[in-house]
């Protein structure tokens, strides 16, 4: 089902959704960038070309999230913590981020089901926004995605000449879009195909994901490419698919906080032994997890080519170029 919405229609839709949904969308903070945050009215929504700094992952795997709490009466014992159940819609996330969530499903909605992730997922409807202007960091088409791709989305919006064309993908999406706007006529429907292709072709950075990485574990390549790394957590925290975490006890709660393989402390054992003692092992772990281990376990690369780790790396380490250049 496809519908055409005017800007006014979209605004009205968001305003009406606010009654029964928690609405989240991209918001621009001047001089800081675009952030996904709760939207109270259609005017706040940012539908421009810039990408949000943090991926929508943060609503499913929160930077810190209480997973257990000690009994309120002060007695010992850890208790379950609930997940809010009100319905939520995220509007304006990018196709690559939604694809990232489909990859995270393989970890958290698999053997040993993680209720925090699953319940957040099931209460959320995802309305994507197709990209108009991919930048140099984007390489989604090399990772099996596309700026117009609907994988993992319930509906996707294409901005077109002052209006929005919405393609409804799932029933959850239909529930949100309903009968807003007009139906797209048949002639227009055909034009969508070429629009999608145009968007697909607008991604200029192309790489060939590496094969057979297990044959170059000890290669010096990894020390070379990781030398400039400053061991911060930008690449992992801003990645739509990185999901490593730490469990810490604080304030009578057990929290799940982001953690990442780039930090020396990630694998440091209490005895002082660190199985990944240098940047070489740590950076290699990140590349291998994305392009080797995950592929072995689930048949896909754990990278959607969103470009965040390239865009925000403080020293311009480029995982696309590094993966592309990793040849035995």
């Amino acid at each position: 089902m496809m519908r055409v919405l005017t800007k006014e229609d979209l605004k009205k839709l968001i305003n009406s959704l606010s009654n029964s949904f928690e609405v989240i969308g991209p918001k621009e903070i001047p001089n800081k960038g675009v952030f996904y945050s709760p939207i109270t009215g259609g005017d706040e929504l940012y539908m421009g070309d810039s990408f949000a700094i943090e991926p929508a992952k943060k609503f499913f795997l929160k930077p810190s999230c209480a997973i257990l709490s000690e009994k309120p009466d002060g007695g010992f014992g850890l208790e379950d913590v609930g997940v809010p159940s009100d319905k939520r819609v995220i509007i304006g996330l990018r196709p690559c981020e939604a694809r990232g969530l489909t990859l995270l499903d393989k970890i958290f909605d698999a053997e040993h089901k993680d209720k925090f992730y699953i319940e957040e997922r099931s209460r959320t409807t995802l309305i994507g926004l197709a990209c108009d202007k991919p930048d140099r960091g984007c390489f989604c088409t090399s990772m099996g995605g596309s700026p117009a791709d609907g994988q993992g989305l319930d509906a996707i919006i294409f901005a077109a000449e002052g209006q929005y064309i919405v393609e409804v993908i799932t029933d959850k999406g239909r529930e949100i879009i309903g009968s807003t706007g007009k139906k797209l006529d048949d002639g227009e429907q055909k034009a969508r195909k070429s629009d999608k292709k145009k968007r697909h072709d607008s991604v200029k950075t192309k790489i060939t994901p590496p094969e057979g990485l297990d044959k170059m574990v000890d290669n010096d390549y990894w020390s070379e490419v990781s030398r400039a790394c400053v061991s911060c957590g930008i690449c992992t925290y801003l990645c739509p698919t990185c999901h490593c975490f730490d469990l810490v006890d604080e304030e009578r709660k057990r929290l799940r906080c982001y953690d990442g393989c780039s930090f020396p402390d990630f694998t440091l054992e209490a005895s002082g032994v660190n199985p990944r003692p240098t940047k070489k092992e740590r950076y290699r772990q990140r590349v291998y997890h994305k392009f080797d281990y995950f592929k072995k376990n689930f048949g896909e690369n754990l990278c959607v080519g969103c470009g965040r780790c390239i865009r925000y790396c403080p020293v311009k380490i480029d995982i696309a170029a590094i993966a592309d250049g990793a040849r035995v």
């Binding site: 257990l68 850890l78 490593c244």
Partner: protein, 275 residues
């Protein structure tokens, strides 16, 4: 939906000081039904929570053939282990598990077993040794080489007599340097292994100890004729979730917590890692 991170309440029912910095805790679930249904294999581990401190991974060191409680031997090291050491009989803890694959006890049937342990590395092997002794008919000759820095660092001292007396079982104790009144062997584990010379014929070696010990023991095992699949180890790495999600215990494409901690040498080589 169940919370996979939720531990079951349990209590400490006995504490034994093994060495100056290692204690063995006997733990029991508050809910007896959970205790009864807690089924595990030697080599599996649990996640134990200490109030306000956090959670850490410990292998179960008693044999499933001797049910009734869960024993964990804990070396005082980090935040959680220090918190545990401060606890006493009757104090509450949280337990979840068992996790991991455990030792391949079925495949080991009808074989000679060579146990090689260093320091607290004996903990997971103790579970397996007692399991095999309780099912003595299933296994052939059992050789145990157990080393520690000094005699006061040896763990499970009470059980040595039982092991020595068991049928067709040989226990070799060693310390790094000669001490007053020490009558057993002296020297590092690899050297003792070379002296003991267990046969590789129809044998499986199970090794657990500090990385440095494993590094120097491997060539000796190879020289004795043990091949990849016949050398089994249980790996240790920092673990948090225990269920293959938090991402820190990767070894190649496998997670130690979910796919391990027990691997044989052939598997590890395939993953691109030695021990």
């Amino acid at each position: 939906m169940d919370n996979i991170y939720l531990p079951h309440p349990a209590r400490i029912i006995e504490v034994k000081q093994e060495t100056p910095d290692i204690k063995t805790f006997k733990l029991k679930f508050d809910d007896e039904a959970i205790g009864r249904s807690f089924d595990y294999k030697p080599g599996q581990f649990v996640e134990a929570s200490v109030s306000g401190e956090g959670e850490a991974t410990f292998c179960v060191s008693n044999s499933p053939t001797r049910k009734g409680s869960i024993e964990c031997s804990v070396k005082k090291m980090g935040k959680v282990t220090q918190g545990l050491h401060e606890l006493d009989v009757g104090d509450p803890v949280g337990l979840r598990g068992p996790y991991g694959n455990g030792f391949p006890v079925e495949e080991m049937k009808g074989k000679n077993l060579v146990f090689i342990a260093g320091g607290i590395g004996l903990a997971p092997l103790r579970s397996l040794i007692n399991y095999c002794l309780d099912k003595r008919a299933d296994y052939k000759t059992i050789t145990i080489i157990n080393g520690a820095r000094s005699s006061k660092d040896l763990v499970y001292k009470d059980e040595y007599k039982v092991w020595e007396k068991a049928k067709d079982t040989h226990l070799h104790l060693t310390v790094d340097y000669q001490e007053e009144n020490w009558t057993c062997m002296v020297g590092m584990v690899p050297k003792i292994l070379e002296e003991v010379k267990p046969t590789c014929e129809n044998s499986i070696a199970i090794i657990c100890g500090p990385p440095i010990m494993i590094k120097f023991t491997m060539p000796v095992l190879m020289k004795l004729g043990f091949c990849g699949p016949a050398i089994i180890t249980t790996l240790e790495m920092k673990m948090k979730c225990g269920v293959g999600k938090c991402g820190r215990c990767n070894i190649g494409s496998r997670y130690i917590c979910k796919d391990g901690p027990v691997f044989n040498y052939a598997q590890l080589e395939e993953l691109g890692y030695g021990f």
